[in-house]
Symmetry: D2
Subunit: 345 residues, 4 copies
C-alpha cells in the first residue's frame, strides 16, 4: 500500500529535492508538483536530475487530495494558504518558517508578524531528533531551518546533559552554501560575485536564532557566513561551560542523546583527511556529522556539526518527519550515503 | 540469493566507488576491500561516505574467493596479477587499461607493451552499450576508460548509421574533472594549482584514443582538457560528414542505437538552463546525456555527451557490466538519479 | 600632461575594469563614471577594488567633455547614442559590438540590424595586433569581442603565413568564464546553477563568429562552452592544413607575426604544470598566451590560446587601443603581471 | 639609486610572491632567487606570472651579497642558516615562524624548540601596523603569520582602547584558502579532496596563537577552517567586552589606531554586495579590510577582518616591512588594488 504525496513550490531547490526523494520513496506515490512560474513545464525542465519523471508542474491553486503535502513556498505564503493545504492533505509538512515558532511574538520580532497565530501551538517542529515523540499522528509539521538544524543538533546533547545552560556563553559560527539563497537570481547570487566568498550575512539577529532559542532554551551568539559551495551548512560552536568538562563527559552526553538516531554520525579520533565533520562528506544525504574538541587553555569546548542544507536542513528532514508522523520506516527513501570524491556539491 | 564481491585497489577513487555501489547493491555482498597503503584501516578512513561500513582494508595479496572481483589498480598491475585474480573469482572486472585493447601492438604504441597478450582476445570490453551481447558468461571484463566512454557513446550511433565513416574528419574536444587524475597528490593536482584551470593535457596521442579507434573503427582527432570540477567528463564532437545530414536523420540514428538503453538520455530542444548535456546533471549516476546540433554553415554536426567519469566512466560501468555478465537486472544498484542543485561535484 | 577620460556603463564588469585601469594609468585622469542604476553611489559600492576612489556614478545623459570616452554599454546602446559620445570626446572607444563589423549586412545576420551603418567604415577594430596601423588618430574605435579576440590571436599568424586558408577545415572550441555573462543576475547565472558547469552555449552561429570571419578571412567552425571560472577565455583551435606543416614552420609564422608584440606570449616546450596557455596564468593581465602542437596522425595542428576576457578581451584591449590611438606608450597602465597561485579568478 | 634584493625559498608561494613584488618594485633590483629543487630552471617554470623574467633558480647555498634578503623557507630552516643569511645581506626579512616569538619557551610549546634563542630579542616583528617604530634600521625582521595577522589587525584597536582586555572572553573563527598549505602536494591538498571543504584544522592550539598573544597581550580562543578559495584569510572575532561598548566608541578606537595606515580599510554601512570585508575583494593586494557590528542581545561585538594571506599575510607584509626598515616609501611596490569581478582567487 502506498500513500499519495504532492509538493507545492516544487520548482525551488527544497521543493525539487522533495520531488526527488518522493519519486524514489518506497511508500509514497508522487502525484503532483506545483509551480506558478513553470506551470505546464516538465519538472525536468528545471531539475535535470528529474528528466526521467513523467510529471508536469501544475497550478498551485488546484491541489489534488493527497495523504501528505510538502509545501516549500517562500516564508509568509503558507500562513495565508494553510487552510487550502490542510483541506488537500491529511498531513501537511511545511518547509517554510511559517509554523516553526510557538510564540507569536517571535514572529513580530524576527519576521513580519503572523496571520494565523492560533495554529502555532498545533504545529509540531519537524526535527525528529528533537520532537520524535510528538510527530506520530501530527497533521501539521513545521520543518526546521537549515542553520538552526545544524546548530541545534550540535548543541542538543550538551543542553540535555546540563553542560550548556542559559547562563553559559556560546558562539556559533556557521558557514553555508549558495543553495540557501534559493533558486532566484540576484546580483549578489550571480556566479561572478558569489564565487570564492567568505561573506558575512546577518552577523546578528539571524532569523534562525529564534528556532535555536526555542529548541535549546539557551541563546548562543550566532553569525552566518556564505562560503563557496552550493550544498552544505557547517556550524562551529564555541562553548565556555561553567563547569569543568572533559572528553568522557562529552562522549557520554552525545552518545546518550543520539544512541539510536539513524541519521546522526559522531566522529572521533579517526585521523585522516576527513577526521572532522565536513559538509561535502554528507552532501546528498540526510546525515548530520558531529565531532568535538576540548580546549583546556580557554575552558572551551568546540563542537563541529555539518549537514546538507537541502537535505537534513530541508527536504530530507521533511521526509524524515513525514515518515515518523505516518508510522513508516524512519529511513525510508533517505538511505543514499553520499559520494567520494566530490567537489563542492 | 546473493553473490560475493570484492574490490582490489579499493582506496582509490574508482575502487571506492565500486565499494559504495556494491555495499548498496541488492544482489552483491561486499566481502573484501584491499589496499596495501591503508591495510587495517576502516574503509571510511579514506572514503567518508563509507564510514558506516564495517569493513577494513586488507592485504591485496590475500584474496578471498568471490563470485565477482573488481580490480581498480593502476595500469600495468592487473596484467601481472591476473592469474591470482582469476583464481579468486569467477568473474574479474578490471577497471584499468590492461585488457581493453585486443591488439597487443596497440599496447606497444600507447602503453609499455603487454605481459599477457594471449588474454586480450578473451577479455570483453565492458561498455554494455557496445558489447552487451558478449558480456553474458564472460569471465574477464575490461571496463572502458572514461574519456573513451564519453566519446564512444556520443559517436556510436553515427558510426552505426554510416553518418561517420573512417574517411570523415572529426574532432573530439573533451573536458574532464580532477578525479581522473586519481587519489594521489602531485603539485599539478594540488588545489592551488588545479583550481580554475582550463588545462590541455595530452593534446595529441592520448591513450584513450586506442579504445576509441577499436570501438568505432574510425579515428577522430582527440584532445583532452582539465577543467574545474572533480567528477565529470564532457565531450564535444565536431563532425564533418561527407553526406548531407539533417536533424531527423540524426534523431533516427541515436534513437535506433539507444532505443532500449537504460542509461542513455537523449536531450532535445527542451530549452531551460540544462538544455544540453552537463556533467553535473549526471554526477553520481550511471547515465550518459547526449544532444546534438547541426551547423549548416560549416557542414558540421556537433555532438555533446556527458558522464560522471567515476561512475559511467569507471565504477558504474564496471557494475553495469557485471550485472549483464551475471544475468542480473541491468540497473541493479545503479538507480541513483543525481542531485539538483549541485555545485562542482 | 595628462588626458581626461570617462567611462559610460561603468557599473558593469568591463566598465569597472576600465575604471580600474584608468584610475592607475600614468597618462589619464579619470573624471567621470556613469551608471543609470547606481547614480550617486560611490563606484566602490559596486566595485570593491575601487573603494578608495573618490568617484561617484553620474547620470549617463550628462557627459563631461573628455579626451577619451570608453563606452561599455549593452549591445545596441552605443549606436543610438554615438553622436552624444563623439560630441563629448575626441576619441570614443566602444566596448560593445556596435561598431565592430564593417559590413552592415552582418548586423542583420548576427544582431538586429544597425541604426548608423554609415559609421561602420569609419570605426577601427580595436585589437592592436590586428589593426595597429589604423589606430593612430582614430576617433572611433570598436574594441573586439572576447571570444573573437582569443580565437583571432591564436589563428592570425597561420593565416598570414598561408597555413590556414579559407578552404582549410578548422574547429575552434572555446571555454569561457562567468564574467562574460555580465553583471546582471539570471537563474542560469546564479551560483548554484553556474558552478561546476561544462555548458555549451550557442553551439553554432555565435555572434563573435562574424568578427572572426572579418578579421581572418576564413570561417572556422566555432563553439563556446561555459566552464567554472569567472575570468578567462581559452580557445583550442584544431586545424587541418592542406599543406604539410611542421613545427619549425609554425614557429616561424608565430614569431613573425608577433615579433614585437608586448602582450603576446608564445609558450614552447618548457614542461611544468603551466606548460600550455592557461586563463588563470593571465588573469588580470592584458596578455595572450599561445602554444601549439602538431598531430601527425591526423594531419592536425592544435593551437591553444588564453586570455582574461575582462582584460585582453575587453577593458585591457580598449585601453591598449586608446594608448595606440593617442600616441601613448603602448603598455601604459597595462603592466600588471598576474598572480601565482591563483584559484579560479 | 636602487637596492639589490634576493629571495631564498623562491619556488614556494610566498617566495614567488616576493619575486613578483620585487621584480616590479621601483627601488629594488631583484638579483637572485634560490630553490634547491628547481635549480637551473627559469622562475617562470614554477610561477607562470613570471615567465617574462630573465631569472633562473640558483643553489640556496650560494648566496649573493644584497641589501635585502627575503627568506621564505619552511619553519625551522632559517634558524639554522641565519648566519649565512645575515652575512649575505644587511637586512634579512624572514617569512617563516623562526623569529616571530620573543620568548624561547613559546617555541618549545608551539614548535620544536629554538636553535638560536639569543636572536629572538633582536628580531623585529614585521607587521608595520604593530611595530612601525621598531622597523627603521632593523637588520632582522620576522614577518608575521597570516592567521595571526588577520586576527591581530582586527583586534588591535580594541586592545589599545581598553575595550578588549585579557579578562574578556573572545572567540576568533578563521577561514583560510588552500595556498596556506604551501606548494607541495599531499592527499589532503589534492583538488578532489580539498575542493568545496569547510574543514576544521588545529581547532585548538594553532601555532599562530602564540603570535596573537604576544602581539595583543590577550588570548582569544582561536580556531581555523579551510574553505574553498586559494588566497585569503578571513577572521570573525566574537568579543564580549566587560564594559558597555557602542558603535561610536568602536569607530573611535579603529580610527585612532589606523588613522594614517595606508593598507587598512575600514568599512561601514555602505550596503551593497560587498558591505563586509571579503578576502576576494583584497586578493592580490596588501590591504586589510575591517568592519564590525554590535550585538546588544548578547553583549557581543563582532569584528570581521580579511586579507590576502600570500600578500598582507606573507610577501606583501614582508616588502612593506622592508620598505619601512630601509626608509623607502611605505607603499612602494604594493599599490595594486585588486580585481573585480574575481572568482576564488
Amino acid at each position: 500500500m502506498s500513500l499519495d504525496a504532492a509538493v507545492v513550490g516544487a520548482s525551488g531547490f527544497a521543493g525539487g529535492e522533495c520531488l526527488r526523494l518522493l519519486a524514489d520513496h518506497p511508500k509514497f506515490d508522487l502525484v503532483q508538483a506545483t509551480s506558478r512560474r513553470y506551470e505546464r513545464r516538465a519538472v525536468g525542465y528545471v531539475h535535470p536530475n528529474l528528466r526521467d519523471l513523467d510529471l508536469t508542474f501544475t497550478d498551485p491553486d488546484d491541489l489534488e487530495s493527497v495523504d501528505a503535502l510538502f509545501t516549500a513556498t517562500p516564508h509568509g505564503v503558507s500562513m495565508g494558504r494553510i487552510d487550502d493545504f490542510r483541506d488537500a492533505a491529511d498531513l501537511v509538512v511545511d518547509l517554510s518558517a511559517d509554523f516553526r515558532l510557538r510564540d507569536p511574538a517571535a514572529y513580530d520580532t524576527y519576521y513580519d508578524g503572523h496571520e494565523r497565530p492560533e495554529l502555532l501551538d498545533e504545529a509540531v517542529y519537524g526535527l525528529p531528533e528533537l520532537s520524535r515523540d510528538e510527530l506520530p499522528g501530527a497533521t501539521l509539521v513545521a520543518s526546521g531551518g537549515c542553520n538552526a538544524t545544524v546548530t541545534i543538533l550540535g548543541l542538543l546533547p550538551l543542553v540535555e546533559a546540563g553542560l550548556l545552560t542559559p547562563d553559559d556563553r556560546a558562539v556559533v559560527d556557521v558557514k553555508v552554501g549558495s543553495s540557501e539563497g534559493g533558486a532566484s537570481g540576484s546580483r549578489a547570487a550571480a556566479h561572478p560575485e558569489r564565487s570564492g566568498v567568505v561573506r558575512p550575512y546577518a552577523p546578528t539577529r539571524h532569523r534562525h536564532q529564534a528556532e535555536i532559542v526555542q529548541a535549546l532554551g539557551c541563546d548562543p551568539a550566532f553569525t552566518v557566513h556564505a562560503v563557496d559551495m552550493v550544498r552544505g551548512a557547517a556550524a562551529t560552536s564555541h562553548l565556555f561551560p561553567a563547569a569543568d568538562v572533559d572528553k568522557p563527559a562529552l562522549w557520554r552526553a552525545f552518545r546518550e542523546t543520539y544512541a539510536d538516531e539513524p541519521f546522526v554520525r559522531l566522529l572521533g579520533g579517526s585521523g585522516g583527511v576527513y577526521r572532522y565533520p565536513e559538509p561535502k562528506a554528507v552532501a546528498g544525504t540526510n546525515l548530520v556529522e558531529i565531532a568535538f574538541e576540548v580546549d583546556p587553555d580557554h575552558g572551551r569546548v568546540v563542537v563541529f556539526s555539518a549537514i546538507d542544507n537541502v537535505m537534513k536542513g530541508a527536504a530530507g528532514q521533511a521526509v524524515h518527519a513525514a515518515n515518523v508522523a505516518l508510522g513508516l520506516e524512519e529511513t525510508a527513501g533517505l538511505t543514499f550515503r553520499g559520494l567520494h570524491p566530490v567537489g563542492a556539491p
